[in-house]
């Protein structure tokens, strides 16, 4: 392969992302921009990838990482501009908390705890949730004062809610995975009620944050879900429980073709593709067992972020990376709309050297001109 020409790569990459990656640009798009968790292995620094860290250390780590990235791949990849601590708004309650769970850290990883242990408890939970004053529940007592202070001092508005843990993953956390699967099989009416409560809550929570931010669904469109566990359902079960949530939320927040309709599920999703196809998704990131030709058959207009195995990348396995990126380049040139990236989240250990290698493969084998 020819040596990598970094300046040319990034110039071509910019054009490659036009029209949601559906274009005839000279070069295929690269979707990998690494992630904050990669700083530890890359810099040989102690630390755990999934715990929040103090702002100054975050900036220092990201700056050092970016210095290295600039040398190796010609671009500063990670954010270095984090707002000061007092620019942060007090935390707003999240969807798992509405359903009775708590977000806890265990072994440096965030988990949503189980809140119901029987169908009876689920019914009681749904009774509460369906009648909940979500605005009062979500926003802390000092919200108004803090919102005003942060806006007047820093010009920062509250964040919108346009991305949530998907319905199946949420339900698995709230009930426990097996009990949830039994629920959908044994008590479909109660499962349907649970699904409808998730629709109601999602739309209401998003609306509260729209109001707090000062926008509406019509003004600021697009929505995305991260639903790793949806692969655990059969198509019929997903049709009953998961699909209605996405359909209703997209109908409000992504009614028009260009509005983002995105699903991330880094898991084996092949059996659910026909259903997801009916949602007209325009962006997906699935696990490495489902590849471009299969996805494209069901989702003709979706930008496919994939399909490099995150584990090949994390192991920095050059043979596997070469084989998989070559495959994805071939598929992308044939099918279009493929953003060369990992099929799932990028892990600490994935190196900048490997990213450079991926860029080299794309520049050599992922070109139209």
């Amino acid at each position: 392969m020819r040596e990598l020409d970094l300046d040319r790569f990034w110039a071509d990459d910019e054009a490659a992302h036009a029209n949601n990656c559906f274009n005839q640009a000279d070069q295929l798009p690269l979707g990998i921009r690494m992630s904050d968790e990669c700083v530890f292995a890359e810099l040989g620094e102690p630390g755990t990838p999934w715990m929040p860290i103090e702002r100054e250390r975050r900036i220092q780590l990201n700056r050092r990482y970016n210095d290295k990235a600039e040398r190796l791949v010609g671009k500063r990849l990670l954010n270095e501009a984090f707002p000061p601590e007092d620019a942060k708004l007090p935390p707003v309650k999240r969807i798992g908390e509405v359903f009775g769970g708590s977000y806890i850290y265990h072994n440096d990883t965030e988990w949503l705890t189980q809140s119901v242990h029987s169908y009876k408890e689920l019914e009681q939970l749904l009774d509460r949730v369906e009648n909940m004053d979500l605005r009062a529940f979500m926003l802390p007592p000092n919200w108004e004062a803090e919102k005003t202070r942060v806006y007047e001092t820093y010009g920062i508005k509250p964040c919108l809610m346009r991305h949530i843990r998907g319905p199946v993953t949420l339900a698995c956390s709230i009930m426990g995975t097996e009990d949830f699967l039994f629920l959908v099989m044994d008590e479909p009416d109660l499962a349907k009620r649970f699904s409808e409560a998730i629709i109601l809550v999602t739309l209401k929570m998003a609306r509260v944050m729209d109001e707090e931010h000062g926008t509406t669904a019509e003004e600021t469109q697009g929505f995305s879900f991260a639903d790793d566990n949806c692969c655990l359902l059969t198509p019929a079960m997903y049709e009953l429980f998961g699909y209605p949530v996405l359909r209703h939320v997209f109908a409000v927040y992504s009614p028009d073709e260009p509005d983002m309709r995105y699903q991330h599920s880094d898991s084996p999703m092949g059996h659910l593709l026909p259903i997801l196809g009916r949602l007209h998704l325009n962006g997906v990131n699935f696990g490495p067992t489902v590849l471009v030709p299969e996805i494209r058959r069901h989702l003709p207009k979706a930008r496919i972020d994939g399909c490099l195995s995150p584990m090949s990348f994390m192991r920095n396995d050059r043979d596997a990376i070469l084989q998989e990126i070559r495959r994805d380049c071939r598929d992308a040139l044939y099918y279009n709309g493929v953003n060369i990236a990992t099929a799932g989240s990028i892990n600490n250990g994935s190196s900048l050297d490997s990213l450079r290698f991926i860029m080299q493969i794309i520049q050599n084998e992922g070109r139209r001109a």
């Binding site: 990838p49 072994n107 988990w111 995975t177 099989m185 655990l232 092949g270 059996h271 892990n347």
Partner: protein, 213 residues
Amino acid sequence: MGILSDISSNLQAGKAKAVQELVAKALEEGTPVKDILEKGLLHGMGIIGEKFKNNEVFVPEVLIAARAMNRGMELLKPHFAESGVQSRGKVCIGTVKGDLHDIGKNLVKMMLEGKGFEVLDLGTDVAPETFIEAAQEQDCRIICLSALLTTTMSAMQEVVKAAEAAGIRDRVKIMIGGAPVTEEFRVQIGADAYAADAASAADMALELVEGLL
């Protein structure tokens, strides 16, 4: 053969109540316990396992089949001793320290039970010493380790080391699995077997105890 194939087919369909009734009827009719177990329950679970491996059925179908098998087993187990039915050995299984995921581990447990193993489920977030103590106290032939996170898979090596330190490595096999785990990782940490999915794990466990691996 009629009632045994009925047990198998109802189990495959996840019909727990029907399986329970059929097992009770088979016992009443004097069908040998070993036949009810092997030609009815384990036969049905074996078919489900194969279908799962071939992506013909999904996790929920395995769950309800396993639930049906357990209902049948509840009736059958009290007759094992008098009938001379023996399990294929004890296995202890758990998700490693720091990791709270359980569905993968539970699927492997179901598949192992479907192959006739007696499975001791240690749960999630299991410390290395807990695996070793359980294996020693319960005379387990295999320790099965599950991890879903890249940050917790390293805990598998701690279990291998703890088994070596406890001097049980020659009589206890260690099998690993989970999304981030690979055959290469197995070699690196010195475990005995790596399984890519739950059904393969059960097949591999059989090969391990039969000395084929």
